[in-house]
């Protein structure tokens, strides 16, 4: 039984409607692309949840480390001038 495996892990992304972004739905086990796509369809779209599916081997996902969150995400907090509400518009200005 040593050779018995549960196949490779794949991540599934579903687009619920044309034009919308693909969202992570979960994972499936499969030996190849075709099986991954079929399993994703059977497991994650039984009730019209999607119009399109992406699958990719989980091992190719590179994730940020939670320990780096301060370094990665804090700097954006002090750049409020990136938001439109930072700017003072003259009284009476329209369509801006």
């Amino acid at each position: 039984m040593a050779t018995d495996t549960q196949l490779d892990l794949w991540e599934v992304f579903i687009q619920s409607k044309a034009g919308l972004p693909y969202m992570h739905a979960g994972s499936v086990h499969a030996s190849d692309e075709k099986m991954a796509l079929q399993n994703a369809r059977d497991i994650y779209t039984r009730r019209g949840e999607g119009t399109s599916i992406w699958v990719m081997p989980s091992k190719y996902i590179v994730a940020s480390n939670p320990d780096d969150n301060d370094m990665l995400f804090d700097p954006s907090n002090d750049k409020i001038y990136r938001h439109p509400t930072f700017y003072v518009m003259p009284e009476g200005a329209k369509n801006i």
Partner: protein, 314 residues
Amino acid sequence: MHNEHSDAHFQLRIDNGEHIEAKDYMPDAYRKHLIRQMSQHAHSEVIGMQPEGNWITRAPSLRAKQILLAKIQDEGGHGLYLYSAAETLGVSRVEFIEQLQSGKAKYSSIFNYPSLNWADIGAIGWLVDGAAIVNQVSLQRTSYGPYSRAMVRICKEESFHQRQGYEIMAKMMKGTKDQQAMAQDAMNRWWWPSLMMFGPHDTDSPNSSNAVKWKIKRETNDELRQKFIDKTIPQAELIGLTVPDKNFKLDEKTGHYKISEINWDEFHRVIEGHGPCNKQRLDHHIKYHQEGEWVREAALAYKQKHLKKELQTV
């Protein structure tokens, strides 16, 4: 700055209502508790396919057969969502299945009761899935992100399960005397085991206190059980079913039903492996797992063959 890898910081995040993700720091005991609870939950979904699968070929109409097939397919899917979510904690699918088959991991003891006739399919959907939903709705707010997301997906799908079961029961209660008797008999057999699904009383539940502190569980066993009782008794009465408990009564002051004491000896007996179907359920799982080995082998051989071809054409 506090140490992000400390249990105190972890508890602070939990208390703030944050979700914990797979790569975040978590105490070993939190990880262990989740592995146990989530795998048990996944095993329950998969083993739970058996009592209903028993009735696919004998469903009384094509409509009933289609519905039952769809429901059982959902249960399989729910098992897969949960296994995937549990795998994020660093345990492989192979290990989970070994733990189930060796008896090291448990599954809900409700599935060790037999489904004797069609009314049981009604009772399973209405009572067993009904109890599961109460638990799962609460778990949508569990602190571990992947578990919480799996629960949200499962809850969206489960309510059809309970409604189809209640529909079967309601239909039988409008039928012949024999059909009514069958429905009542199923109610009598499934009522108490369904109440046991919530686990021991809070005072006797060894795993509960940490689980509540870590917000893995958002409500206790007894709170969830009470919710189920309060919802279900009026549903039984509406269609003319009698709750098999001579002493139950509505407490006007609290609005909650009080019931007789649960037979905990039976609960422990079934968990320890002495229910009517424990052996049958595991034997079945092992048999089909082993018989499926050639399929997994063939899939891998197919993959290898195509990898070789790709290498040759490079």
